[in-house]
Amino acid sequence: MTYEAGQYDVIVIGAGHAGCESALASARMGCETLLLTINLDMVAFMPCNPSIGGPAKGHVVREIDALGGEMGRNIDKTFIQMRMLNTGKGPAVHALRAQADKFSYQHTMKKTIEETDHLTLRQGMAEDLIVEDGKVIGIVTKTGAIYRAKAVVITTGTYLRGKIIMGELMYESGPNNQQPSVKLSASLKELGFKLARFKTGTPPRVHKDTIDFSKTEIQPGDDNPKFFSYETKSSDNEQLPCWLTYTSEATHKIINDNLHRAPMFSGAIEGTGPRYCPSIEDKIVRFADKPKHQIFLEPEGKHTSEYYVQGLSTSMPEDVQLGILRSIPGLENVEMMRNGYAIEYDAVVPTQLWPSLETKLVDGLFTAGQINGTSGYEEAAGQGIIAGINAARKVQGREPVIIERSQGYIGVMIDDLVTKGTNDPYRLLTSRAEYRLLLRHDNADLRLTPTGYEIGLISEERYQEFLNKKELVAQEIERLGTVKIRPEVAQPMLDAANSAPIAFTMDALSLLRRPELTYALIEPFAPSELPLTEEMKEQVEIQIKYAGYIEKQLHQVERLNKMEKKKIPDDIVYSEVHGLASEAKQKLADIRPLSIGQASRIAGVTPADISILLVYLEHYNRVTAARGQ
């Protein structure tokens, strides 16, 4: 029996990292929003590593924050370790990484959701989508509740027809032995969606008291931690260290001796696993020459003794897992609290989506996160906020928001997914971005906060603070260009910094361009009266030091943007475009790119095809214009 359970603007199915951002964005934009989860105790759960950030991923968290999302604030409240990575490299690749108290992380997120206006959090398993005339109008849960809505966002993570595999054992399950979502997958298939089968995995967890830390190296957090959110000014969170150890020869022997029991090699796993996150058995087979592999031991929280064994993702049988663990220095007597496993799940082939993350097949239906073929909490959250924003805007009758590749890693990721698709679970890497120098950790606010403000997710107060920062940074850069420093004054500082002496008076800005000099070194010779924060000084330094490179990339962006701005009308019939190669016709008809820029990134579409398309569009526009007259 079914019953009418309520009417909403937007329904979000799944309360993982994508679902939470989606629902919060939609509700904060004023839409009545329902967030459904199979298990209310699993909101914002971290089924794998208890950490957030790192290169590209950390950038995404900053971008989510700049847009007015929650992940940055939430991890800032609940971290138990914070480290800035890549500090020896250029500013574009500095990357913040946090260890989370995984329980505190999910409780804090759940509380935020519960306290948000227009947002209803409810337990229930969505099993069917109600679609009328190609438009989604509601969902039905396992318990027969019918919820009606104008837009639906599906963020099912690894739950869709989830199957856990470990050695010879195999059973239907969501992550961490949760109930899988079986029927929704069938419903999507019925609607005509192409699904892919992907796989991921997680390592075992061990008991802290059974680890001999004396045989490992300590990995402490930063003394002066930075934060993900531009709103977080300080924190008194106590930090816990991680620990580093290595696999041994014995580890490799155990694995090699038991390969016949590994589902990876016995053929039990049909899903495609992520290249960037291979299991330990995979690593040992593929990189047989490597004598040892790093293993990080990471605390899962303050109020638990569980440690996550990073580097040991495996789907070996339980007894072999224990043997592997105990072959590692420091873990000789370890107690395994949970075993590792591989999980297979259904994903939607992401080329079936518009760049707004709305599906092309069903109007008003959006998908975000792992269901779109990605992997990682940050990737999920980054899509989640965009799907939530666009679902809300759809309901409000507004144009979707699309982040360009030159604006953020979120834009790179979504464009990659919807334009090229993915053959294995997609992970963001900084190398996927062509404008890495523009997509820095430090300038996420400059890139995206105006968008966040326009959407209505950034408060007036925060926006004014942002404008103030921008203005002060610009003023300070201009000022440094006018401050002259005499050679005899600068000499001791230059000597100390191993910097070449100057022969004539030089302005502070030019000096700051030298790789070896910093704002802090120059500041005493050019003190500013502006109320500059450390963050602003950092911004000044980066903008001055890398101006040449930044300008070069901006120039490229400007050129390519012209291609992005050339829109392709939706009603174009590619099979009728004379001169296009047949492969291009088919690919273009499949992807239906929104702009010439997007079209040019489709595999199999050549520059000649793009030229022809441009000529055709010009023809089309002139004819349309002539008809209009």
């Binding site: 794998c48 590593n49 290169p55 590209a56 990575l85 890549n86 020896g88 490299k89 250029g90 574009a92 690749v93 990357a95 390592p203 290249r275 960037y276 996150c277 291979p278 299991s279 995979d282 690593k283 593929r286 990189f287 490597k290 592999h293 790093q294 990080f296 990073q310 580097g311 993702s313 090229k420 890497l429 900084t430 190398s431 996927r432 890495r436 120098l437 790789p515 070896e516 890398y546 490179y549 070069k552 990339q553 050129r559 012209k562 291609m563 001169g579 040019s600 595999a603 050549t606 520059p607 000649a608 793009i610 030229s611 022809i612 441009l614 000529v615 010009e618 023809h619 002139r622 004819v623």
Partner: protein
Amino acid sequence: MVHDTIAAISTAIGEGGIAIIRVSGPDAIEGTARIFRSRTDLRDAATHTVQYGHIIDPKSGEEVEEVIVTVMRGPRSFTAEDVVEINAHGGVVAVKKVLDQVLLQDGMRLAEPGEFTKRAFLNGRIDLMQAEAVIDLIRSKSDRAFSVARKQAEGTLSKRIKALRQTVIELLAHIEVNIDYPEHDVEDLTSAYIREQSGSALEEIGKLLKTANEGKILREGIMTAIVGRPNVGKSSLLNMLAQENKAIVTDIPGTTRDVIEEYVTLNHIPLRLLDTAGIRETNDVVEKIGVERSHNALEEADLILFVLNNNEPMHEDDRVLLEKVKDRQLILIINKSDLESKLDMAEINSLIDEERIVRMSVREEEGLDLLEKAISKLFFEGQLDSGDLTYVSNVRHISLLKRAQQSLLDAIEASNAGIPIDLIQIDVRSAWESLGEILGDEVGDSLIDQIFSQFCLGK
């Protein structure tokens, strides 16, 4: 794409006395101005005016070619963009030299097939009725270009570029993995490693570009000047070369208007003999003119054949001339070797390496094989006969190789200056992309593939 600047030779190559290089786009005037020396700065030139001057190599300041340049500011031009047309003398070599210089300028690239027409259409200069014709033009031209490119890419050149690209991508993957996996136990990237990998790639690029030069010589012939005092046997040498080879291909109007070229092949080696008319005239009374013309030809030549008479001591004129050219690509021919030697060999040996001296008797038709060997050694390091040498010949390929070369040099320089690796990556990546463009490869995901096959990463 529509808003960058393109250039191409817009007249059929090798036909007609004048060739036009057309440049169109926002940087057309600025880019050309940087390599154009004349009384009026091109930037200040009024639209639809013609300037006389020289294309120069901006690095050395050397004059590359004498040209006439027309400036047409948009929208009153064929493409409705700023257009510059460079009129050069029609010789293939001259035109390509000019195009090379143009393409080396920032923001310039070689036009795609049909691209000028495409731009003209997109900018509203061509009637709607012709849209289909424009499409056909693009399609047919790019298909043809593609098939040529593919033919070239199937050969040994493609293998070498692929290997080269592999060297660069390994470096690139190493940089990327250092950035994306800072905590992984992969070796830290050192500037020594960057230098080493870039250095070996640069060496290979250098070799390929050298073949470009050899390939050019093979196609167009070695510009050769025969010089010497009257009556040492210059004209006989010419006649012998001409008779030996019935393969006098054509008389081409040359790059300097007065000079006539004659194209002969000496076994495998094509020679373009400069100023042959002048040499012929030395049989006439006005020998002086001949000498003068020889002097002019000297400036142009890739190869100088300096002829001495074995039977006469060195004349002061010989010494002056020899001093002037001894550091050029020169072969000293001691003619009339069948007669008694009156030359001071000690003096000659102090000026010229033994391997660049060839003893011949033109009258007895002896020593031609020695001459051929000496030239081959000078220009092809003696390997001309191996038959399957790789030659980079395509202008586009050459300009992309040069671009890759520059990017790698920038990378090394940046690395030496202590610039962070994520910035060096920009140069390395651009080298990799330039090489990729030669192959027409999908650049796509293969970097990511490389990272994960080269390094063991994971959680």
